[in-house]
Amino acid sequence: ITDNILLNGPTLNVLASENFIHQSMSIIVENAIKKATDVREKVCEWRSPEQLKELLDLELRDGGESESEILQRFTDAIRYSVKTTHPRFFNQLYAGMEPYSMVASFIIEALKPSLYTYEVAPVFTLVEEAVLKKMMELIGWKDGGDGIFNAGIINGLSAAPRLVMFTSQECHYSISKAAALLGIGTKNVYAIPSDERGKMIPSALEEQILSAKSEGAVPFMVNATAGTTVLGAFDPIDVIADICEKHNLWLHVDACWGGAALLSSKHKHLLKGIHRADSVAWNPHKMLMACLQCSAFMVRDKTSLLQRCHSARASYLFQQDKFYDVSYDTGDKSVQCSRKPDAFKIWLMWKALGSRELEQRVDRALAMAGYLAEEIKKREGFRLLMEVAPVIKERMMKKGSMMVGYQPHGEKANFFRMIIISPQVSRQDMDFVLDEINNLGKDL
């Protein structure tokens, strides 16, 4: 005993702890998996913030609590959380429950690896490499390239004279955030107008590039979006690539949402030209339903650009005198240090399902959306006004029957944005969405 502390034994009672894990797992399976995906249950159990604070008793104290108290807290956390795996959760660009990916996530949580070196994460280093290779194959890069799975932060370039980049007005707002963070400045992100379908207008892009040059600025990059956040539009990548080639600009394709279409022989034409991109972002945690986070960033480069741009060569991690091939230590490609092996979440499910099944799911999601669009046209009265959407949203949440997001867009008033991803969703759910909006808004 030293300083009144017993050093001879571990502080943790492993047997009791394992029992606790088993019990908490049962609760998870029952409430967060079975009930959460059951269409007869609610999507959400709405409480106002003040009520919820009280219910959860969040305060952290000096003393601990009993196991049964902790398990109750566990149950409460599930109860009042939104069931994003519910068949009627259409609110965001992620949804649905993919058990193989979830198992991969559980493995990751249990093993707690960090992905900077082969020595601490041998399996996951190789898995990430294999997944990126497959994804780059789908993009169409015959010579391969480089890449990394990262926590949703855009990779940047160094500063020089006033640099200017171009993106569609429909692009994801992370472009703007990245420009601010990287020191490029949001004013130096030129927004190119889009057509009525939400696709970037190439001639406008050409104009703005020339205009920027005449201002004395240096255009350096174009961001094309494959699957915009609100309208799901696909920029004409091939034509944009022509322009980038002509002006020697880096072409990045934000395919975070739309990348999944590359798996579908029917729909991959939407990304025609993507093999000409210099870099691609693709998030399997969206349409492919891999557990969050699962975002890949790939570069069509074989000169170790990623490493050269980001490396700091920390000697406590990336010793050069290791006993294995240190090119497997991928950590210095990242801006992060500790990094989770997110690629594993898509790898295990891909192994389980195969590319053909993934293709089927993508096709189905698109078909479902097509069905919904047809149904809306058939129904009278489906034109939403500004004040109506927030009220209907409030009602659906308090009832817990479904979740659909709304937003304004350009000069358009609020409208609902339906995101359809999960293969658990069926035609009846589409009918339900329209019926429910109707019901909830009848008196408005």
Partner: protein, 465 residues
């Protein structure tokens, strides 16, 4: 519009029963391989394989068709088998390790609920919970108010602090970029984590503008030299704006003298950031918190509970003293598809715009559940115990002859320990010192025997060298 597809849209495409059965079978394997065997001192820490051999064993290629359940369960077993058991009592390699079952349960739940916490509407429980956890952490720093956010790692926390400091000085940088600014300079010790350098490069500040301050023979930043270097930088026409100091350096675990550094930052009006990713947890300990005396005078603190508190990756908090909503102003983009202002609840709860991320994982549950389970006192005990283990180790090493490691020896011993799978300890050079082992000891599973084992094993492995 073409006819809705070949597949029948009337039926869900997923077989839930199969999925759930797979989940329960896989879970048994995880429990057995990772949590039972993985924490058993009689089992190996790692099952070493060369990369080419491992690639073959794992059969990594993805294919057109799926695989049967048994094959997949075998894959689960293989992944567990060939992965490093970071919870093993003899894993001393990194600043994360060990196991806590409450945080583990919290992590499993986080995965099962699969959501982001950008808005109250999609993550009501977790928005409130993150708020409370940050408040409690700030209280330990000594702040009754403030702001903060969980980031995907300490590197990001350090980077955010850099960005905030720059924005506070020059808010126009957000719209106009670095071209609108004079040359900026940052001050840090050479012992700092490499994310300070990566951050400077990433943010467009430039590696050349990261100025390294001298350290004493213990590795602590020398405040007088900091003062001098700031004056020098100013005289060269640059604008100093940030000092990034450390509580618990990566390699030696050293604590910079925060109070003195705060004096200098006050004098020159610089943002003081404390990278307490590793050392922050001493704030739980009445005995050891003096190491961070003066931390309440900082503008920002980065603290990773996934390190010494064993919360599990990722769990990294950035805490701010600021109460002017600086975080949100600096990062916001006001996206209308997420942050509508006409929502039916208080939209200040939609914290997403404080982050540079859009999707952001729930990292607070694992810490909150553990904290609730063992209390602040329980966490204090762990920190105190970790210090004692380290001290015991040092005393023992002094008693043993021959514990002076040469450059060539460490890599060989490392290779042997990994191929035998008996333990994992990292080594690295430092400055002009040759390779030495760095043992990180804090897992609640550790006991004195493990410290003895560590020393015995190094001796055994290196006997012939």
């Amino acid at each position: 519009m073409e006819q809705a597809s070949l597949c029948d849209l009337n039926e869900p495409l997923i077989d839930h029963a199969e999925g759930q059965f797979f989940l329960s079978e896989a879970f048994k394997i995880i429990m057995e391989e990772v949590l039972s065997n993985g924490t058993d001192v009689k089992q190996k820490v790692c099952e070493w394989k060369e990369p080419e051999e491992l690639a073959l064993l794992l059969d990594l290629g993805v294919r057109e068709t799926g695989e049967p359940r048994d094959k997949l369960l075998q894959r689960v077993r293989d992944v567990a088998k060939y992965s490093i058991k970071t919870s093993h009592p003899h894993f001393f390699n990194q600043q994360y390790g060990g196991v806590d079952y409450h945080s583990l349960a919290g992590r499993f739940l986080t995965e099962a609920l699969n959501t982001n916490l950008f808005t109250y509407e999609v993550a009501p429980v977790f928005v409130l919970m993150e708020n409370e956890v940050l408040r409690a952490l700030r209280q330990l720093v000594g702040w009754t108010e403030g702001d903060g956010i969980f980031c995907p790692g300490g590197s990001t926390s350090n980077m955010y602090a850099m960005n905030l400091a720059r924005y506070q000085c020059f808010p126009e940088v957000k719209s106009k970029g670095v071209w609108a600014l004079p040359r900026l300079s940052i001050f840090t010790s050479p012992e700092s984590h490499y994310s300070v350098k990566k951050g400077a490069a990433f943010l467009g500040i430039g590696l050349d503008n990261v100025i390294f301050v001298k350290v004493d023979d213990r590795g602590r930043l020398i405040p007088e030299d900091l003062d001098e270097k700031i004056e020098l930088s100013k005289s060269q026409g640059a604008v100093p704006f940030l000092v990034s100091c450390i509580s618990g350096t990566t390699v030696q675990g050293v604590f910079d003298p925060l109070d003195h550094i705060a004096d200098i930052c006050d004098k020159h009006k610089l943002w003081m950031h404390v990278d307490a990713c590793w050392g922050g947890s001493v704030l739980f300990s009445k005995k050891h918190r003096h190491l961070m005396k003066g931390v309440d005078r900082a503008n920002s603190v980065a603290w990773n509970p996934h390190k010494m508190l064993v919360a599990g990756l990722q769990c990294s908090a950035l805490l701010l003293k600021d109460t002017t909503n600086l975080l949100k102003q600096c990062h916001s983009a006001n996206a209308t598809y997420l942050f509508q202002q006409d929502k039916f609840y208080d939209v200040n709860l939609d914290i997403g715009d404080k982050s540079v991320q859009c999707s952001r994982k729930v990292d607070c549950l694992k810490l909150w559940l553990m904290w609730k389970a063992v209390g602040s006192v329980g966490l204090e005990e762990r920190v105190d115990k970790a210090f004692i283990h380290a001290r015991y180790l040092v005393e023992q090493m002094k008693k043993r002859e021959g514990f002076q490691l040469l450059s060539m020896v460490a890599p060989v011993i490392k290779e042997r320990m990994m191929k035998q799978g008996t333990m994992m300890v990292g080594y690295q050079p430092l400055g002009n010192k040759v390779n030495f082992f760095r043992a990180t000891v804090f897992s609640p599973l550790l006991s004195q025997k493990d410290m003895d084992f560590f020393l015995d094993e190094i001796e055994r492995l290196g006997k012939d060298l």
